[in-house]
Structures are given as structure tokens and as C-alpha cells.
């Protein structure tokens, strides 16, 4: 058993006690402990995209009958690292017609919120950085800020393709935010809390001894909610089939056409971090978080959580490498005429279920 949650919390308590013993006020000790936790999350969120980029390359390679990176390290595992280093040393190009301030700030605005978003994610038993009471709403609220970064990139580049990409991005992200939030509402209704830890904790145990009490297994409501959440999440992360803001064949690279070096890397980081965040959210909301159903004791909860998260990340990768891209107007139609009505219907059904249960 490798439950690191209790161990970590004990360690932080010991640390706080230690520094208080040396004369630091308790609030200062608390801030120090939280700062270290935040540092761990920043590190994790920076490293996970590297793993995901590697996974994306390998998954796409195997889907496309090729090998993918093979030269840097065994099976090319250090390829992403090498690319990261390369990007860091690349020239930072700012076009003449660009709005320098917007161009420089855009990648930072796009990437900064994602670190904050991981605060209420329950990585396992006792592994919740901050158990916010409004966890789900918090993540939705903060992740919306990244859209501003995309708009700033589109505007600040002084390039028509970037501008079109930014425009499309704004329209798409605002639209898909709505069914995405609404799809989660049945979960909140049934568990009566917005805390991700609380929701995950509510999904422990089994129905009839074999079916996990995960939300996805609620008849109709669970599956529909997950489907809408997944589709809207793919759209929110700008990935195929919803990658119209950066549609390569139409808009060159959309809003990040004019970005190079580290700034480009930041956009990349943001995209993959959001993929990871969406998958983690889906696991906490629909798949019982760190719950291991019948095989409960086989692995510690954080491994369960990570395993499920990567399984959903694989779905994202799978979509990207098999689907063509939707056209921009069909994309909007799909959102407003299909996802949104069904999300509302789902809320109604969830309400009925609660009524019937009473």
C-alpha cells in the first residue's frame, strides 16, 4: 500500500509544527506549507504535459503505422525534453505590426490559470491541495480566463489568420462553456456538493456488489452527462474535431501563428495541461476519483486516479487522430442545437430522479 495522502499530510503537519517551534507564527507556517504544496502542483502540471506530448506522439504514431520518436533516449522518451530545451533557446519573434504588450502577455494569460485550476482536484485519498467548497465552479471560473489569452494572441499578432483564429476561438469557447457547465449540474444535484473531493467520496462502494457507484453508471443521466462533458471538454481544449481556432489547413496555425520559442511552448503547455485537467475532472465527477471498485485494495487511490485520468486522456488523443475537423458554423449548431438542449433535459431527468428517490 502506497497511500501517500496520509503520509503527506502528516509530513506537512510535522513541518508546520517544526517551524512554529522555531518561532514562526502559525499562519506563516500554514502559508509555507501551502506554498510547498503549490510548488508540487506547479511542478506536476508542468511535467504532465511533457508526458502527454510524448504519449500523443507515440499514440498517433501507432495509429498511423509508424514509430514516432525513437532516437533521443530509449524509445525516444527524452524527445519532448529535447524539444522543450530547443524551444527555450529559439528566437522570440514579434511581428512589426503586432501589439507588443498583448503579444507578450497572451501566452502567460493563457497558461497561468491552469495551474490555479488544479487546486481543488482530489488526486487521491487525502491528496486534495485545497478542498474548496465551490471546487467545480472554481475550476470553470478560472479556466475561462485562458480564453482571454487566446483572444489577446489573436489580436496582438497583427495577422489576419491569427485574428480569425482568435475570433473563432472566442465564439467556440464561450459557447461550449455553457453545455459543459450544465452537464455537470446533475452531478452536483445528486451529490449535493460542489466540492470535487466530496463528489468523488460520494461515489465509493458498489451497487449490488459488483457495479461501482460511479456517476457514469446512473442510468441515462450519467452517460449523457459524461458524453456532453467529454465533447464540450474536447472543444474547450481546442483539439480535433473542434480545433477550428488553430485549424492548420485553413488558418495556418490560428491564434498562435506568430508565436515562437518559449511563448509557443507556453500555449502548448496550456493545451495539454487543460487536457489533463479535463480528464482529471471527468474522473472525479463521473468515475469515482480514486475509487478502485472491486479491486479496491490492489493499488493506492492516487494510482487509480492517475490511471483513469490517462485512460480519458487517451480518448482525447484517439479523437484527435481519427476525426476530421468540423466546419465553424456546424460546430456552433452542434453546440446550441444538440448539446445545450440535451444538457437541459439531463438536468430535468436528474431532478425527477431525486424526486422519485424521496
Amino acid at each position: 500500500m502506497l497511500e501517500i495522502g496520509p503520509f503527506l499530510s502528516k509530513a506537512f503537519q510535522a513541518l508546520q509544527a517544526l517551524v512554529v517551534g522555531y518561532g514562526m507564527p502559525p499562519l506563516g507556517a500554514w502559508i509555507l506549507a501551502k506554498a510547498i504544496q503549490a510548488g508540487i502542483i506547479v511542478l506536476l502540471v508542468s511535467l504532465v504535459p511533457m508526458v502527454l506530448v510524448y504519449a500523443e506522439r507515440k499514440v498517433s504514431a501507432f495509429m498511423q503505422a509508424r514509430l514516432g520518436p525513437m532516437n533521443v533516449g530509449p524509445y525516444g522518451i527524452f524527445q519532448t525534453l529535447a524539444d522543450g530545451i530547443k524551444l527555450m533557446f529559439k528566437e522570440d519573434i514579434i511581428p512589426i505590426g503586432a501589439d507588443r504588450l498583448a503579444h507578450t502577455l497572451a501566452p502567460m494569460v493563457a497558461v497561468a490559470p491552469v495551474f490555479v485550476c488544479f487546486a481543488p482536484v482530489p488526486f487521491g485519498k487525502g491528496l486534495v491541495p485545497i478542498d474548496l467548497d465551490i471546487g467545480v465552479l472554481f475550476i470553470f471560473a478560472i479556466s475561462g480566463i485562458s480564453t482571454i489569452g487566446i483572444l489577446m494572441a489573436g489580436w496582438g499578432s497583427g495577422n489576419k489568420f491569427s485574428m480569425l483564429g482568435g475570433l473563432r476561438g472566442a465564439a467556440q469557447l464561450v459557447s461550449y462553456e455553457i453545455p459543459r457547465v450544465l452537464s455537470v449540474v446533475p452531478v452536483l444535484m445528486l451529490y449535493g456538493t460542489q466540492s470535487l473531493r466530496g463528489i468523488a467520496a460520494g461515489q465509493q462502494g458498489l451497487w449490488h456488489g459488483f457495479l461501482p457507484r460511479w456517476f457514469i453508471f446512473y442510468p441515462f443521466v450519467g452517460q449523457l452527462a459524461f458524453l456532453i462533458f467529454l465533447i464540450a471538454s474536447v472543444a474547450e481544449t481546442n483539439r480535433t474535431p473542434f480545433d477550428i481556432p488553430e485549424a492548420e489547413s485553413e488558418l495556418v496555425a490560428g491564434f498562435h501563428t506568430e508565436f515562437s520559442g518559449l511563448k509557443f511552448a507556453l500555449f502548448f503547455l496550456a493545451e495539454y495541461a487543460y487536457v489533463f485537467l479535463s480528464s482529471a475532472m471527468a474522473v472525479a465527477l463521473f468515475f469515482g476519483g480514486g475509487d478502485g471498485f472491486t479491486a479496491q485494495g490492489w493499488f493506492p487511490s492516487w494510482i487509480w486516479f492517475m490511471g483513469k485520468t490517462f485512460a480519458i486522456v487517451f480518448l482525447f488523443l484517439w479523437f484527435r487522430w481519427t476525426f476530421p475537423r468540423l466546419r465553424v458554423d456546424r460546430l456552433m449548431q452542434f453546440c446550441w442545437k444538440f448539446l445545450l438542449p440535451w444538457a437541459i433535459v439531463n438536468i430535468g431527468v436528474a431532478g425527477l430522479m431525486i424526486l422519485l428517490r424521496k
Partner: protein, 169 residues
Amino acid sequence: MERTIPTLIFGLLAMLLIGLSLVVVTSRSVFRGAVALTGALGVVAGLFALLGADFVAAGQLLIYVGGIMIIMLFVIMLSQRPQDHLDRQTNDQWVWGAFFSLAIACALIMQFRAVYRGIFVTTVATPTSASIGRLLLGDMVVPFEAVSLVLLASLVGAVYFGLDKEDRS
């Protein structure tokens, strides 16, 4: 100590808010002004959070920053070109405008000085979503629905004016 840290944070946020608001009214680029306004609204969310209103803070971020401001930026990008971002955003009346704003600010400060006695709300975020939900769908349900009717009317109006002349009839 327990009191100084929130006060410090409040001071920082307030300064940031004033600075960003000034950028909104003085920036020559509409786009930059809108971005600064976005930042200002985000800072307001921070103030809400400082007051322990977690739900309102998140709502502020979700609706104003993630929704309304993005639509505003969208409109700016649709109607303007990146090249012409050097229009003056102020007119000849700005002196009077500044004077009256300052006057109102002074009046507000005087008013609140009487009430403010250094009392500060505790920074520990107490869950508020349940009570807000009860209020909105309980005691306040009629005004709440009335507001949504107003929004619906304005939406219909917007669609009507957005249509081409031939389609209106």
C-alpha cells in the same frame, strides 16, 4: 497579524483595481482598454473572495471575465483592425468627468468612514452556495425570474435589430 494580512491584500487589490480602471479610461487602444477592464473585473472577484463570498467571486469570474468580457473583446475584434489601435478614447469633457468622479469618490469615502471602524470579515471562506441557492429559488424567486424575463426581452430585441431590413417584416 490576523488582521494585517487581509488588509494588506485588500490594499494591493484596491490599488490594482484603481490602476486597471485608469488604464480602461486612458488607453488609446480599445482592445487594451477592454483587457484592462477584464483584469479589473477579475480583481473585483478577488475582493469578493476576500470578503468570504466564494460563490459570488467564482460567479463574477465565470460570468464577467469568462463570458461578458470575451464577447466584448469579440465585438472589438470583429469591428476593428489591429492596425488602427491609436484612437483617442477621451473627449473634451474628460476634465469634468474626472472632477465628478473624484467628487463622488470623496463623498463615498466620507460616508463609509463613519461606518468603517476597522472591522473586517474573517478570511475563512464559509460555504455560501447553499444559502444563495435557497435565497434565489426560495424567498427571491419572483425577482429572480423577473430579471431573467428582462434579459429575454433584451435578447429578443437584439435579434430583431440584428436581422436584415428585409427579414424584419
